[in-house]
């Protein structure tokens, strides 16, 4: 996906920077990256530093940055949709063919917008618009970040039992961060933080989105 984006814009002054938020260390990301063997920059962020700096709360989230290093679109969902919620094992539903198609359409729509921006500047927000969409930072979030960072550090140093309360406190202080919760959660057999507790948490969102759609045409 990002390789296609990068390839299709190789004649433009453009770069994809994909940051893996991997609190357990780079080896978690290795198989995924090696499968793609990307030519774009693929970086490993064991401390979730990028999420902290930009106020990101989920993956995938993206920021568009212009040639002068200015943010022209603050963090927003990058092509993912809530269709996956139909697969909730608690409701025994499943994504229909129409859901699957809609999911692909949304992703294509998003990446078409990225390409339009790179080629023509379309969809870039002006300063006031961009500032309005900046994430809000609270003291609770700042304290959550500090707890999360210590928890991740302890876990990487084989001190998981000590890490637990810091990770739990981080999630309690910043409940909107799926990054913090999922990076702290147990993984299922497939290696995803998508066990029963994940689905309980998703269900408790009710009408709120898991992946808020980007404010782009068609969404």
């Amino acid at each position: 996906m990002w390789q296609d984006l990068s390839d299709s814009l190789k004649n433009e002054e453009f770069a994809v920077v994909a940051v893996a938020e991997e609190g357990k260390g780079p080896e978690q990301a290795r198989p995924w990256i090696e499968r793609v063997n990307p030519t774009y920059l693929s970086l490993i962020d064991v401390e979730h530093r990028v999420a902290s700096l930009y106020g990101m709360v989920n993956v995938p989230q993206s920021v568009w940055i212009d040639e002068e290093g200015h943010i022209v679109r603050p963090p927003e969902t990058a092509g993912a949709t809530d269709h996956f919620r139909r697969n909730d094992p608690g409701t025994e539903g499943a994504m229909t063919d129409a859901d699957l198609a809609a999911r692909v359409t949304a992703r294509d729509l998003y990446y078409t917008a990225v390409k339009e921006w790179v080629k023509t500047g379309k969809h870039a927000l002006d300063g006031d618009q961009a500032r309005q969409k900046l994430p809000k930072f609270t003291p609770q979030m700042a304290l959550a970040d500090a707890n999360f960072r210590l928890g991740l550090w302890l876990r990487r140093h084989d001190r998981s039992a000590e890490a637990e309360p810091f990770l739990a406190e981080a999630s309690r202080l910043h409940p909107d961060s799926w990054n913090i919760w999922r990076q702290s959660a147990e993984l299922n057999e497939a290696g995803f933080a998508a066990g029963p507790k994940f689905w309980d948490r998703v269900r408790s969102l009710g009408d709120k989105p898991y992946y808020p759609p980007p404010d782009l045409p068609g969404f």
Binding site: W2, L5, E13, F14, A15, V16, V17, A18, V19, A20, E21, E22, Q28, R30, P31, L41, S42, L43, I44, D45, E47, R49, V50, S52, L53, Y54, M56, V59, P60, Q61, S62, V63, W64, I65, E67, G69, H70, I71, A78, V114, A130, L134, F137, T138, P139, A142, L143, D145, A146, N147, L150, W153, L154, F166, N179, A185, L187, G191, F192, A193
Partner: protein, 129 residues
Amino acid sequence: MVTVLTDRGEHEVATTGGLRLSAADAEKISGWTLKPEGMCRDELCVPLAGDARVGGQVDLAAFWSLLGNPVVATATGDAWVLGTAAETRANALAGLQAPDFTLPDLAGVSHSLSELRGKKVFLTTWASW
């Protein structure tokens, strides 16, 4: 030795109880310099409470909290996070200049966002989990 994690990096320092350390280590970790008037950076000096400076040692945790930043430590005090206040994070974004960062790729080679100045950048996150 004690590990101190900040936005500037990870540091190993000697301490004498809590996060009391030498003025030189305090400066290396925080970017603030101990002077008679307090802890100083550029033109700004922040006075320290009497017990936060003893015999050339600085209580960096106390100073960091005084600045309004979060401080978290292990029960034994062998690892500390000197965090960043919400206001500082918000101010860093308010000018819309994309905050710089330096991170390694899989081969361990470091790359900085600022190296890409002159190009449009699609900065995106993902995870294996």
